[in-house]
Amino acid sequence: MDVQGLKSRHTLLKEYAYTRGDIDRGYNNRTLYVNLSENSVAEKPVSEEMKEKFIGGKGFGLRLLWDGTKPNTKWDDPENEIIISPGPVAGITQYSGCGKSLVVSISPLTDLVIDCNVGGYFGPYLKFSGFDALEIQGKAARDVILVIDGTKGTVCIEEAPEEAQDSHILAEQLTEMYADDETDKRNVSVVSAGSAANFTRIGMLNFSWYDAKRKKVRIKQAGRGGIGTVFRDKNIKALVVKIEGIASNLNHVADLPAIQERGRRFAREMKELDHLQAHMKEVGTAHLMEIMNDYDLLPVHNFKYGAHDDTVKIDSHHLKKRFTQGIPDGCWVGCMMSCCKIAEDFKPRTGPYAGQVVDVEGPEYETAAGVGANCGIFDVDVLLELNFYCDTYGIDTISFGTGIAFAMECYENGIIDDEITGGIQLNFGNAEASLELIHQMARGEGFGVTVGQGVRQMKRIFALEYDANAQFLQDIGMENKGLEYSQYVSKESLAQQGGYAMTNKGPQHDEAWLIFMDMVNKQIPTFEDKAEALHYFPMFRTWFGLMGLCKLPWNDVEPEDNAEQDEPAKVPEHVDNYVTVYNSVTGKNIDKRELIRQSERVYNFQRVFNLRRGYGRREHDAQPYRAAGPVTMEEYESRLERYDQQMKEIIGVDPEGKTPEEKLAITREYREGLYEKLLDAVYKRRGWSRDGIPTIEHLQSIGMDLPELIDTVKLYLG
C-alpha cells in the first residue's frame, strides 16, 4: 500500500497547536471545536455546571448541539454538528466495557437529535489526546480528514483526495499512514463512513481499532439515524486520532484499587459463568437468533411473524463456525466479555470486492435478524456478504434490513412493480435483490437510492407517486419518528411497544428491552408496573451513554446469586459496581438513586430538545400498527388460536361467527386502546403532561429547570 503517495496529495488547510495537559478524575475540562466551513479550530472550557447537569458522553453532545444549532436547523445545514464524546469513565481498562464513544447529531431520518453508542478506540484516544468531546460544525469544500495528534498536540484539517471511501480500505490506509511503525498502529484510531453514505439517509460511522493479535484493523459501528450521511455531507472522509500509548491510569482516577477490585469480580463471573449463560465470548449477541425464534420474537417478513423454520440455517451454531475462536475480541482494552466476533477470510461473490479476501465484523444479532430473517433470507453466506458491504459502504444494517423488508412487502402487495424497481424482483427471500440494492446504494443509482432514503421517505414517495394506500403503508412501515425499528417483534408485549415508540430518538432497543419481563415472565401486569419499568430502565440505560460504557456487561452475564436478589432484573450487584466505578473515577459520592437522577436530567433535556424542534409530543410517540398487532388476515391467521383466545378471554368477545375483518378490527381497537392507556401511565410516571411534555414542577424537582428548557415547555404546556 503506497500510503506515502496518498499522503503526498494532502493539502494542509489548518494546523492548530495545543498543550495536552493531564486528565483530572475522568475529565480534561475542555472540548475541541472544529469548523470545516471556516477551517477554524478552538478549545472550549467545560464548566462545573456542564459536568453536574450533563455528566459527559451523550449529555455533553446534547448540550453542545443545543447551543450550536437553531430550532429549525436541518441535518444538511452547515450549522448541524457531529459531536463525539467518550464520557468520564471512558478509557478505564480495569473494568469491562469502558471504551464507548457517544455520537450525537441532527438526523436525516428523524429531523431529531440522534445518539449512538459505539466501541472502537476513538473516544478514549480523543480523551487521552486532551478533549472531553469533539464538536464538528460547517462543511468542507472538498473531502477532508481531521487529524488529532495527541503525541504532538496538533489538530490538522487536510484535504485528502485520493484515499478510498469504503471503510475496510480507508481505515487501513489511514492507520498505516499515521502510525510510525507496526507497533504504533495500536495507537491510531479512525472514524470513517463509506460510499453508500453519500447517497442514502442511513449512513453510519465505523470506529476503528488495531487488533494487534490478528494484525488487522477492526471496526465498530455507530449505526443508527444516519450520522454517516451527515459526515459525508460535511465532506469528511475520516477522523484520525493518535496517542503515545495506553497506560494504566491515564484518567487519573480518585481510587484505582476500588475499580480494580470490581473489575476482578466481573472477570471472575465471565470466566465461570459465560459458558453457562449467554456465550458472549463465543458468539456475541448472535446467541439470540434461536432464542428469539423460539419465543416468536424474531422478525420475519417485515415483522409479520416472529419465527421461521429456516432460522435453524442462520442460528448461532452456524454463525459460530464462521467466527474465529480463541482470540480475544474486545472493542476496548480490558473488556472480559470480548464479544466482537469476526468472520475472517471471507470472499464476497458480488460487488466491487468480489473474489477478494475480506473480514466481516459480525454478524451480530441485529444484523442477522435484520438483513436475514426479516427479509426472508436464511443463508449465512449472504448474511456475511450483506454485513460486510453494509459496514464498508457505511450503512446501518438495522435500517437497511427493515427498509428492504418494507420494500419487499410493498412489492409483494403490488404497490411497487418491476418498472419501479428497475426489474428487481423484490420478493421476500430474494438474496440477489438485496445484494443488488446495496450496490446501487453505493453507486448512487437505481431503486437502491429510494430504499436508502428510509421507510418514512419510501412511504411518502409510494403514496405520492404510485398512488399507494397511505394508511396501509403507515400500518406496515416499521418506523417511528422516522427511524426504522430494530429487530424484535413487539406485538405481544405492550411494555416493549412503549420501549420502542416512546423513545427520544426512535425505536432502538437501547432504552428498554422489556419483552421477557412483560410477555414471558408476566412480572409487570398492570399499567403502573409497566410505567415503572418504562421509567427505570430507560433512565438506567441512558446512564451508559453519559459515562462511555457498554451495556452488555451489565446483564449479558449475571452473578450466580443474582436470582436471590430483590430485583434480579436490575442486576443489583452490577449496578453497585457501576456506582463504585463512577465514584472511584470522579471522587464523587453518588448512590444508585442519584445515578437515575443524573440520567433523568439528560433524558428530559433530550425530550425538550425534541420539543424545541417541533416534536416530542404524544402524537410523535404513535406506533405503526404492525408493532402492536396483526395488520393483515394472513398475520391474524398465522396465530389464529392465540388471537381468538385473547379475544374470548381478555377482550371478552366471542370470536365464533365473526368475519375475519371483524376479528381484525376488534383486535386492533383493543390493542390501540391499550397503547393509549400505556402512554397516560408512563407520562404520569415520568412527570410529563398528558401530551408528553415535561412539566415545570418535574424539571424543578430533578434540578433541570434551566431557563431555556422552561421557556420551551411553557410554549406547549398552556
Binding site: Q277, A278, L288, I291, D510, K522
Partner: protein, 72 residues
C-alpha cells in the same frame, strides 16, 4: 385446551396440564423455554439448574420461570 377434570399446574400465570412424573426440565420443554438465563421457582422455592431434571412438580404447583433480561 385444558379441561377441568385433568390435573394442572400454573406456569408464569398460564394453566397447563400436569403430567405424571413431571419435572422442571419437562415444564421447560412443554413451554418451549429455551433461554438459558432463567430463575425458576416452584411454589416460591428456587430450583437450582443442576436439579432441573430431577425436581418433581406436584399437581397444582405454581411455577415461575423468570427469564432474565439479556441481549437487547
Amino acid at each position: 385446551m385444558v379441561t377441568s377434570k385433568k390435573a394442572t399446574i400454573t406456569v408464569n400465570g398460564r394453566i397447563i396440564e400436569w403430567e405424571d412424573g413431571m419435572t422442571v426440565k419437562r415444564v421447560l420443554e412443554v413451554m418451549n423455554y429455551t433461554f438459558r438465563m432463567l430463575v425458576i421457582k416452584v411454589d416460591d422455592r428456587i430450583v437450582k439448574k443442576d436439579d432441573y431434571a430431577s425436581f418433581p412438580i406436584p399437581t397444582g404447583a405454581d411455577v415461575k420461570v423468570i427469564h432474565m433480561v439479556a441481549g437487547g
